[in-house]
Each structure stands twice: as C-alpha cells, then as structure tokens.
Amino acid sequence: MLRYSLKRLVGAIPTLLILLTLAFFMMRLAPGGPFDSEKSLPPEIQANLDRKYHLDEPLLQQYGRYLWDLLHGDLGPSFQYRDYTVNELIASGFPVSLRLGLASIAIALVVGVALGTLAALRQNRPADHGIMTLAMTGISIPNFVLAPLLILLFAVHLGWLPAGGWNDGQWRNLVLPVIALALPQVAYIARLMRGSMIEVLRGNAIRTARAKGLPERTVILRHALKPALLPVVSFLGPATAAVITGSVVIEQIFGIPGLGRHFVQGALNRDYTLVMGVVVFYGALIVLLNFVVDLLYAALDPRVRYR
C-alpha cells in the first residue's frame, strides 16, 4: 500500500513537469504582455516594469526561476492584481471552488445513484423512461443556458434566492450554482448507475440472495449497491474534471470568486503567474484525485490489488 502510494506519487512528477512546461511556454508565446494597454507606455516605465517582474531576462532563465520558486512553494506575484501574490489568490479562491465543487459532486452522486437505481428497478417501465429522458435532457442543455434560466425563475421572478454573488458561501448563494453545476453530472451518473445496476441484478450473487428469501430492500442495499457503484466510482475522476471546467462558466455567471474565474481573467490579462499557478494547482489536484479514486475503487472491489 505504502509502496504503491509512493510509486504513484513519484509517477506524478513528470506529469506535473510536462504540464507546467507546456503552460509556461504557451503563455509566453502568446501575443501581448501583462502590461500592454491601449496607450503605449513610455519606454523607461516599460523597462522598469519588465525589470521588476524579471520579464527582461531570457525565457529559459525565467523558466528556471519559476521552477526554483515553485520548489520553495512560491508561485510568484500576480501581474494583474498588483497587491496580491498568486499564493494568496489561490488560497482565497480555492476554498470557494472547493465548496462549490464538493457540494455539486455530492449532490450529483446522491441524486444520480438514487435515480439510476430506481430506473434499474423499474426497467422499461414509465418511471425508467421518465428518469432517463430527464437525464438525457440534463446532458443536452448547456449549463450557460440552464444557469440564467434558474436565475430568472428563482431570483428575479420568485425572489427566493440571490441572483449571484458569494456572500462567504452562505447556503442561499450556493443553491443555484450547485444545481446548475451538478445537473449534467446527475444525468451521467444516473445513466451509468442504471446500466451497471441492471447488470448486477442479473448476476448470480443477486439470484442467490433473492433465492435465500432476503427482503428486496436488503438485497439492493446490501448486495447490489456496492458492485453496481464501481463504474460510478471510476467516473468520479472525469466528473471532477468536468465540474472544475464547468465551474469556469458557473463562477462567471454567478459572480463567484473562485479559481475558474481567476484562470479565465488571468489568461485574458496575461497574468502569467496566476494562470500558471492555477494550472499547476489543478494539475496536482487531479493527480491526487485520480489516486484517491483508485484507492476507493480498490476498497469496493476485492479483485483489485495494489501493484
């Protein structure tokens, strides 16, 4: 177990290195710099700015400097928000995105698994068709359509919930963005769950359990649920990635100060360090999550052993 973990951790290093190298050179090759504005700057001032942020050095030297600082846990100063460092911005943005993401994943899991199981148990009956059509709709509507619809309905017309803002993550501000972010994932999970549950229910283990005369409830919860969850668990990795990507849209529409928004704004403003910071941070996070998902998978499936 420990050896396996160590191996995975070491294996993550080239991943992250490639990631940050790609991001670094892509940022630098892009036209336009962080301090460009409509009016050209006087040369002396431009030179001073470049010197201050080491933009006057050769690119490789800057790259080396970035790696060196990164080793010390320093992601550098933000070019755009002159009063903040990237570490500070990530420290303030990540808890926001995390809260949003975790809530969405949790809801997607609970609702998706419940709906999928229900559909499997009522296979090919109206309830099944209803749920699956609903799921399909969830997949087919982009969340930048869903989110404004929700806002119009629940915030503007009914006035039940706020139309945007974060407000330190109070539940009222969380409801709409979480729904908008979770819905497509609910749909995917419900479909996955239905498929695998149908298969499991047809298996020998369930036949035996039923033959033993166990109540249906126990059969489902005790015997069928765990194996049927396996594909859902392996979907958690892509789901997390999708939630992270989706949060870019949701954070923008709801005005939520999370990392997705920092990333997009950073890219548009050529905030080299902020973009790098977010990419590296999320890269590390995804590596970590994939690892956790594998562990979870092993815990659920006795056939899997750590290599």
């Binding site: 002396e44 806002i151 915030a155």
Partner: protein
Amino acid sequence: MRRLLLLLLLPILSLQVAAGAEQVLRRGNGAEVQTLDPHRAEGVPASNILRDLYEGLVIEAPDGRLVPGAADRWEIDEDGRVYRFHLRETARWSNGDPVTARDFVYGLRRSVDPATGSKYAQVLAPILNAEAIVAGELPVEELGVKALDDHLLEITLKAPTPYFLGLLTHSSTYPVHRPSVEQYGERFSRPGRLVSNGAYRLAEWVVQSHVKLVRNRHYWNDAATRIDTVYYYPIEDSSAELKRYRAGEIDITEAIPLQQFRWIRSNLGDELKVAPYLGTYYYGFNLTRPPFRDAPKLRRALSLAVNREILVEKITAMGEKPLYSWVPEGIPGYEPARLDYADWPHSKRVAEARRLYAEAGYSRARPLTVELRYNTSENHRKVAIAIAAMWKQALGVKVRLVNEEWKVFLENRKQKRVTQLFRAGWIGDYNDPYTFLEILHSRHGLNDEGYANPEYDALLDRASVETDPEKRFALLRRAEAIALADHPVIPLFGYVSKHLVNPRVGGWVDNILDHHYTKDLYIREH
C-alpha cells in the same frame, strides 16, 4: 400599477431623508480592479472606487463642474503657468493625520517616477520637467511641484494649460499617505493598510467578489456624507449584472446589455439613465500598408458608405449621436469641425462613395477585400456586422470580420503588420478637445493608424503653448478639420453613458464624464 403609484409617491417620500438607519449602496463595477494604488491603477472601474477613496486638489460636483476638493481655493499667475493651492486645514487622512502640501508633493513625484511604473504618468506632462522625469532623464526632485508650507502647494507648468485644473481630478494626481507607503511598499493599498483622504476608506477587498468601503470619519466634510457603506461588485457580464439588479441585489449598474435594450426601455425605462459621454467610437485605418496607404479616395469612400444614422438608430440604439467630427460634442466653448458630407442625404453619399471607390480601382467585379478587426465584445460585434453589411450593400466590399481577444488585438494594432482596419474608441481623460486631438499626433502612443501629417502636428504644438483660450480652440479646430479631410479614421458615433439606477437612490445627476461620487448620493428612506 403598484410601481406607478410608487413613482408618483417618490418625490414626496424623498423629502424626508431621515438619518438613523445605516445607508448601504451597492454598485456594479465592470471588470475587477487591478490595484487601488491611485498611481498604478488604470481603467474606469478603478477610477470609480478611487474617487470615493481619495480626494484630489479639485473634485467634481454631481453635474461635473469643477469644485474645490482638498484645496479650498487657489490662485493662478498671469501667465497661467504657476498655480498656488491653499489646502484645507481641516483635511485629514482616514487615520487622523492631517493632509499636507507635502503629501501632494510626495504623491505627484511618486506618480511620475519611472520606478513606480504608472501607466498614466503622461497625464502629468503639463507640469514642469514631468516628461523628462518620466523618460528617466531628470531626478523626481526636479518636478515643478513645491510645498511652500504645510498648507500651501505650488505647481509650475511647462506652458499655460487651460485644462490643467480638470487634470487634477485624475487619480494620478492624488496624494498618498507617505508613512504607509514607506512601511508596506508596493502592497500598501490592501485592506487594513490603505490610508485614504477621501470620503471613504477601504474596509474589505475580496478579489473577484467585492470591494467594501465605509465612510471616513476623519473626512473634512463627513457631516455631508450620507451613505455609510458602499459595495463595488466586479461583474463583467452585463446580462448577469442586469439580473442581479432586477433581483434587487445591486442599486446601480455599470453597463447595459445591448441585446436587451428594447426590453429594458419598455420595462425599466424610468430607471434607465442615458447621458452623452465624452467618448468617440471610430474605425481606424492602417495607413502604413496597402490597401489604405496613400488611398485617401478609398478611405473617404468607406466613410461615406457608412450610414451612421441607421447605425445608431437600429444597432446601438441607446441614444448615441452619429459622429461627423473627431471630437465629440459637449466640451464647453468648443465647436468641433465637421466632415464636409455631414449634411448630405445618404443617397448622395453613397453615389459619391461609389464614384470614389471606382476611381480607386475597385468594382463589383474586382471588389476590395478587407479585414476588420475588433476586440471580443457583444457590442463591437454587432457594430462590425452592421458596417460590413453596409459596405457590402453600397459598394460590394468583401469584409472579413476578425474578432480578437483584447491583448492580441492591441498587439496587432500596434505592430501595424496584419491589421488593415480596426475598431477603436477613446474616452476623454479630461474635458478638453486636446485629449482627442493629441492621439492623432504622429508621436502619440495611441496613434495606431500611423497618421503623420506635419501640418496637423504643427497646429497641435502651437495650440499647446497658446495662452488665449479662444485662439487655442481655433487652432485645435483647424487641426481637427485637417485630420477629418485626411480620413485616417472613420468617426462613427459619440458614446453615451448608460446605467440603471434604482429609484431609491437619490442624488444621481447625469454628467458628461460619467463620474458619480458616492458621497453625493443617498438612499431615500421610506
């Protein structure tokens, strides 16, 4: 019906502005600000907040008139070169320290110091030696600014500059609190550190969430301030902003989604504030490359073929004025020069355009193919589509629309290599025609057209040393006429400022620079 009743009652209700309950104002503010350091900040959103935080020597009344700010009076010598400002003895920083002439000297020097990296250092160019200091040729101590005593500040100019007082409302002239700058260095402008001398002080700033200001109890005129707390929300997406406004979460919007103006007109018409804004929306030609280099006829033809009336009526549709001059209307005392075809009917313009287009060597069979660049924005997109359609219809020009993200767009514009025709706009930095005319000067940093007419440059240079205001305006007007005839640009329309203002907010007055100090606003109590 209920709304109507409320509106009828409002004037009565507003009479009884009661003290007591805390007054909170929530403003939408466009893009997130980069810094609240007045000398390094840029952009409209930052200026909005800085006007509340800081106070320059001169400020603006709600209608835009210049009124005394940190200085309660001033004298100007006969040449118009030396200004003496008497600072208010009662002016205080938000920590209680007195505001002195030395704070202003420190601030102005810091602003032009190349080490500060201010993007607006050039605004201070009229001050003696400022340009040399910005260029790194002189030390900052040589700046023509002196503290004669604690409350007497003397500013010496390079040449008489009639609009100089107006410049003093710009954030690059604000004082900064020396001890906190020296203590915290670059990052002095964060919450808990920032010491300001305006009506408000910084309480909170959560990046991409909000900036919260609370009233500065030490402000010399705090008794007149009515709003206790003001929130600025960064919301780039104007549709999202509109929804938050309608949900009652924002009192004043920064923008209006153009696609929905009809709906807004008919549903929120009473809350809509539209006013002329000192800005020019135009298309610029790249004069250094074909097809527009040495092609005045072609440029004139394209300008003629744009139906500006239709454009503002059908596309922008918020009351923008069709523009036939370079300087927009609204600057007191200045009558802009006009394009010679301003009063022609459109049919005559199209006929003339067709003639010139043919003379330039193009026809329906051999049409001009041109790339039009604009930066990503719903509004620019709509204007570009409309103008491309107009050119296609009138002349058969083939326009390829190229939508670029802001920084890429700027780079391409400046390099003048791939760019042929580009969208641009300019909002006046101060209320004087020079702020528009200078950008077509051959040496100016915003002259992305590559326009260089020695006659034009000479007229501008003469105007900047002319002391007589009337003669100066005449020179500027002559310069403007020359530029218009050369067609380095196609002026399209004059901007309007557009906001939705909740009826419970009082004290809102439209003005041409679109500056609205929170200290002049209040919440009507019921």
